[in-house]
């Protein structure tokens, strides 16, 4: 009998601690599949964050070093500069990347560090119990914005992918989601492109994943998937924001023609 579905080689045989319907587990699996397909397990070093994914080293069967909250890209910078031929990725939530670690993330991107950031945008602080995140959308109720996020008091949601794509150091940035089979396949393709950019030595790549957090959104997993379509992706439009390899190819074709 042919095996059509199994655990990626780059995953350990541990059961996820994530809540039912959580986007983290899907993102983990996609990253592991990409690592397998690119055959880079032995040269990959991952940097998990403080956040719900803090135990990612229990799931990924690649070398991992945990960062303090928000410091992943700084740590990844240190690793990559010392070991430029390794594949280094930082895995970060929205609080981690867009609040406490915005400086480390922004500057790693601006330096064009040849690393990949997987950015899980679930519009809340998952691990600490559903507080407002920099990416919470206007009107969104969280434990620290109980009547809904108001721009006059709490500012606007930060569009990380748009902002980072303005930095010349970035090479591939795409915003995807994992709320349907089709979107999951698309996300996997995006992750693969991002890692490929790094393998090709092109610079900083970032994949933003709109990711359900049914527990803190206080919704069923199905409603959470719907909320991503109906609300979240209105604030954070899906799509490729930057694709330097594609632009280069287009440029070459123009030259040829």
């Amino acid at each position: 009998m042919k095996k059509v579905f199994g655990r990626p080689k780059s995953m350990k045989a541990n059961i996820f601690h994530y809540c039912a319907g959580c986007g983290h587990s899907i993102a983990h699996r996609l990253i592991a599949e990409v690592i397998d397909e690119l055959d880079i397990r032995g040269i990959t070093i991952g940097v998990p964050p403080a956040g719900c994914a803090v135990l990612a080293y229990n799931y990924f069967d690649v070398d991992m070093i945990e960062a303090q909250h928000g410091r992943g890209p700084a740590m990844a910078t240190g690793i990559k500069r010392v070991l430029p031929d390794r594949i280094v990725f930082s895995y970060q939530g929205d609080g981690d990347l867009a609040a406490i670690g915005i400086a480390e993330s922004f500057h790693a991107a601006n330096r064009g560090e040849n690393i990949t950031v997987i950015f899980i945008n679930n519009a809340v602080y998952g691990m600490t119990g559903g507080q407002m995140a920099p990416t919470s959308i206007l009107g969104q109720k969280t434990t620290t914005s109980p009547t809904g996020r108001q721009s006059v008091l709490e500012g606007h949601p930060i569009r990380v992918s748009e902002i980072f794509s303005l930095l010349p150091g970035t090479t591939y940035i795409e915003r995807c989601t994992v709320n349907s089979p089709a979107s999951i396949l698309r996300t996997k393709k995006a992750i693969r492109k991002a890692f490929q950019c790094q393998i090709d030595g092109l610079g900083f790549s970032l994949i933003e994943i709109l990711s359900p957090c049914p527990t803190n959104w206080k919704m069923t997993p199905v409603d959470s998937c719907r909320w991503i379509d109906e609300a979240m992706s209105k604030e954070f439009p899906l799509g490729i924001l930057k694709d330097v390899p594609a632009e280069q190819k287009k440029g070459e074709r123009r030259h040829a023609g």
């Binding site: 070093i45 991992m64 240190g78």
Partner: protein, 349 residues
């Protein structure tokens, strides 16, 4: 800059830092010279926070790594230093102390003694702290710092001040020791083998407790084996000054003056500030009854001296915080005011 050159000679291959006076000569030296060395990486980071976490990454990836800063910047690095201690990663951190608290000023101070010797960040941990007093010692201790950091897999701090950064003294660099650091601690991808992880998060309190005791056992060994100090004129002394770094240089000047007037004063100079040479200091109290602590602070090392000597000797104190650097003459005057041949230390604490 002595520290930068000593670090490169000691095999430092990664430096990250953020400008702050009075230590900019170190990053500037590294920017020029570390990049010329094969595999040498220099990064001017976006903050001290980023720098220390870059250092942690580089250290985990197998490079001898260093950062430097001055007081306010060292406060920002504490999160990372705590992490380095928790993850048992070697690194060298230089603090060229300036007047504080707050933004303070840029003058030489010793106000960060507590922060340095009590761990500095959150959690139950210690950092080895070396306090050089001469340019030669800055070179030697910088090189030793890398060896100690590797040997004990722990962050090591060089605690100096701007005064020492400006010193012009001849220096002979010693032969660097080859690095001894087991491959198993280096994170470089799993290859075909088992993957590993480095973490500071240990959720189970019993496991975390065990980790704390593991670290503590290591600190006990360091405390037993690694104390260093200098004795100066203590053989015939009736009064001993206790001072380190710039304070000790001033103390030596004062001692020369006092001896010229016939007062037999000596110096006990801790070189390791953590571990503090407690037993070595207490040994002196067998012969000498009077001690005077001198610091460029309101009295921080004073507490360690009390721990060593309380009940064994009379302890006086003179401090000038805030970036004021007194002359040897001032200190000599203080000694004659505080010390009476018959009564001993008068204003004893």
């Amino acid at each position: 800059m002595v520290i930068g050159e000593a670090a490169i000679r000691a095999g430092c291959r990664f430096y990250a830092g953020y400008p702050i006076t009075p230590q900019n000569e170190i990053p500037e030296y590294m920017a020029e010279h570390l990049r010329q060395v094969e595999g040498g990486v220099f990064i001017q980071s976006e903050s001290e926070v980023a720098a220390i976490h870059m250092v942690a990454g580089a250290s985990a990836a197998g490079a001898r790594s260093m950062t430097s800063s001055s007081s306010p910047g060292i406060s920002l690095k504490q999160e990372g230093i705590s992490s380095l201690a928790a993850c048992q990663l070697p690194a060298v951190i230089v603090n060229m102390m300036r007047g504080g608290p707050g933004l303070g000023n840029i003058s030489p101070s010793q106000g960060d003694y507590f922060q340095a010797t009590r761990g500095g960040g959150h959690g139950d941990y210690r950092v080895i702290v070396l306090g050089p007093a001469t340019a030669q010692e800055m070179a030697d201790l910088t090189m030793d710092a890398f060896t100690l950091a590797d040997q004990y897999r722990t962050p090591v701090m060089i605690l100096a001040d701007g005064m020492m950064g400006q010193m012009m003294e001849p220096v002979v660099f010693k032969e660097p020791q080859p690095r001894v650091y087991p491959e198993i601690y280096i994170m470089k991808g799993a290859g075909a083998g088992k993957s590993k992880f480095i973490r500071g998060l240990i959720l189970d309190p019993l496991d975390m407790e065990e980790h704390n005791w593991t670290l503590d056992r290591k600190y006990q060994v360091i405390a037993r084996k690694e104390t260093r100090h200098e004795l100066y004129g203590t053989d015939d002394a009736e009064l001993i000054l206790v001072a380190y770094g710039t304070g000790a240089r001033i103390a030596k000047g004062a001692i020369k003056r006092l001896r010229n007037t016939g007062l037999k004063v000596g110096l006990f100079r801790p070189i390791t500030l953590w571990p503090f040479p407690t037993n070595e200091l207490r040994d002196l109290a067998k012969k000498v009854e009077n001690f005077l602590v001198f610091e460029l602070s309101t009295g921080q090392m004073l507490e360690d001296v009390r721990l060593a000597l309380q009940g064994f000797a009379r302890i006086g104190f003179h401090g000038r915080p805030g970036g004021v650097v007194p002359t040897p003459a001032e200190l000599a005057n203080v000694v004659t005011r505080q010390y009476d041949r018959k009564q001993g230390i008068i204003e004893h604490h």
